[in-house]
Amino acid sequence: MYNDKVMENFKNPQNVGEIENPDGVGRVGNASCGDIMEIYLKIDDDIITDAKFKTFGCAAAIASSSMATQLIKGKSIDEAIKITNKQVIEELEGLPPKKIHCSVLAEEAIKLAIENYKSKKASNI
């Protein structure tokens, strides 16, 4: 069902966990539809220096979280906010059709986390 790249990211997910005092947090999904994803960001000078996730969900959701956090680390928030679920899927070398929504959750969680960062920054000014 899943390709090797997805399974690799499921077996050894990167960036699992939380960041203490994160600069941005994004949370999407709900338990009854099967997936919840949280992404935590550490941001220095609009550059994402660290990203971590917590996910309740299937292997595709975990792999998407792992891949999405890898993708955005080191990127500027302007670059990171442009990352789409397509890119997540591409980096994972494909997801089963029924699991596309997992990559969408990852895209959304990143966007929310960056927006959370931006709004905090705005309110700090």
Binding site: N21, P22, V25, E38, F56, G57, C58, A59
Partner: protein
């Protein structure tokens, strides 16, 4: 090689060596069409007759009441759609339960399109149907009640003798899907007052693609698969000699060894249940504690999602399923658990452990060890678990 523990015997079983041995001569050698007059045909026909006689005896019915089908699904389709189509002048109402196998539910849904009225009986939180509701649901126009003997997801045993009794009193036909029950539950269709029964060989160490529908003589049923004169004109298609022979051998062994197998299976099942409950916090047994199949344990592990757990166990060589194999390719969550009102957030992690004849005690140690680790890992990753521990979510 890595250790492999197969705990998905409710999905399908490995064909017993004796069964394979018994089938082999009928693939080549005695490969004739039993409808043919010549030697090859007659030898094949003899084998089918012997198998039919024996299967009938084991079920407590006559050989002329056994109709071979391509499996449990076809038998269920035939039982339900056949009765409806043959008797719709007398009524259009069928009663079934909310926890039936998809073969039954989907057949009923299909009939709804044709004008049938279906009552889907509720179940209690243990997955057992409500007899009072059944009694109240029977009307003038009720043609059939179809309730499974044992549920395939949570293993709950249904009160089929009581249901049969109610149906007999109210003169309504009673069909039971006994696909999960053959070889584990003691059934005798005459004694138990059953009018129709579905079974499938691959659940009791027989081959896939063969099953049977028992139809009590005198019941007006439609054909379902139209064709030649096979099965006394009621089911077309060249008779599947090797698989029928195989099914008979498998059923013979399953029924002969039922008590001893059940002892072992329920011992393992209870040990697993006890150890999970004592060693893994927030694990919930789905289904009834006693009224369940000897080989079935179904658990939800709070805060985690089932597919991940199943894939992790798989990486460790342990094969289990979520609810049922039929839905595991789909996104829907289990209709059985939701009928039981299991809270949505724990239905996601429902995991079925179904033991089989190769299971043993050492397996349990290995399963528990890995289960504990996986549940810990997945909970560590789960935002729900963090929440529950009181960690604040910094949004």
């Amino acid at each position: 090689m890595k250790r492999k523990i197969y705990l998905d015997n409710a999905a399908t079983t490995s064909v017993d060596k004796d069964v394979t041995e018994a089938m082999l001569p009928y693939f080549s050698g005695t490969f004739g069409n039993p409808n043919s007059l010549h030697f090859f045909g007659r030898e094949a026909a003899k084998a089918v007759t012997a198998a039919r006689d024996n299967i009938a005896a084991m079920l407590g019915c006559k050989p002329t009441e056994i109709y071979f089908t391509s499996g449990g699904t076809e038998a269920d389709n035939w039982a339900i759609k056949g009765i409806y189509n043959a008797n719709k002048d007398k009524g259009n109402h069928i009663i079934t339960s909310k926890i039936e196998h998809k073969a039954v539910i989907a057949s009923c849904k299909r009939l709804e399109k044709d004008g049938a009225k279906i009552t889907y009986l509720d179940v209690d939180k243990y997955g057992i149907v409500d007899l009072e509701q059944l009694k109240k649901s029977i009307t003038e126009g009720t043609l059939l009640v179809s309730v499974m003997t044992a549920n395939n997801e949570v293993g709950s045993l249904q009160p089929i003798k009581e249901i049969a009794q109610i149906c007999a009193e109210r003169k309504v036909l009673f069909h039971t899907d006994a696909v999960q029950a053959i070889g584990t539950v003691d059934i005798n269709v005459k004694r138990d007052n059953i009018d129709m029964l579905s079974l499938s060989a691959h659940k009791f160490y027989g081959p896939k693609g063969i099953g049977a529908l028992y139809i009590k003589n005198g019941i007006k049923n439609d054909r379902y698969i139209s064709g030649g004169s096979q099965e006394r004109g009621m089911r077309g298609g060249t008779t599947n000699v090797p698989l029928i022979v195989g099914m008979n051998v498998a059923m013979e062994k399953a029924i002969r060894d039922m008590d001893i197998n059940n002892k072992k299976l329920s011992y393992l099942r209870d040990m697993l249940i006890k150890r999970i409950e004592s060693e893994i916090p927030d694990a919930f047994l789905n289904g009834h504690r006693e009224r369940r199949l000897a080989n079935n344990a179904n658990f939800s592990f709070k805060y985690i999602e089932g597919e991940s757990l199943i894939l992790m166990l798989d990486m460790q060589g342990i094969a289990v399923s979520s609810g049922s194999a039929c839905t595991s390719g789909s996104l829907e969550s289990s209709h059985v658990l939701s009928a039981m009102n299991v809270p949505a957030e724990i239905t996601q992690s429902a995991t079925r452990f179904s033991f089989g004849k190769d299971s043993n005690e050492q397996d349990i140690d290995y399963i528990i060890e890995n289960l504990k680790n996986n549940v810990t890992t997945l909970r560590a990753m789960s935002p729900l678990f963090a929440q529950q521990k009181g960690e604040p979510i910094n949004v």
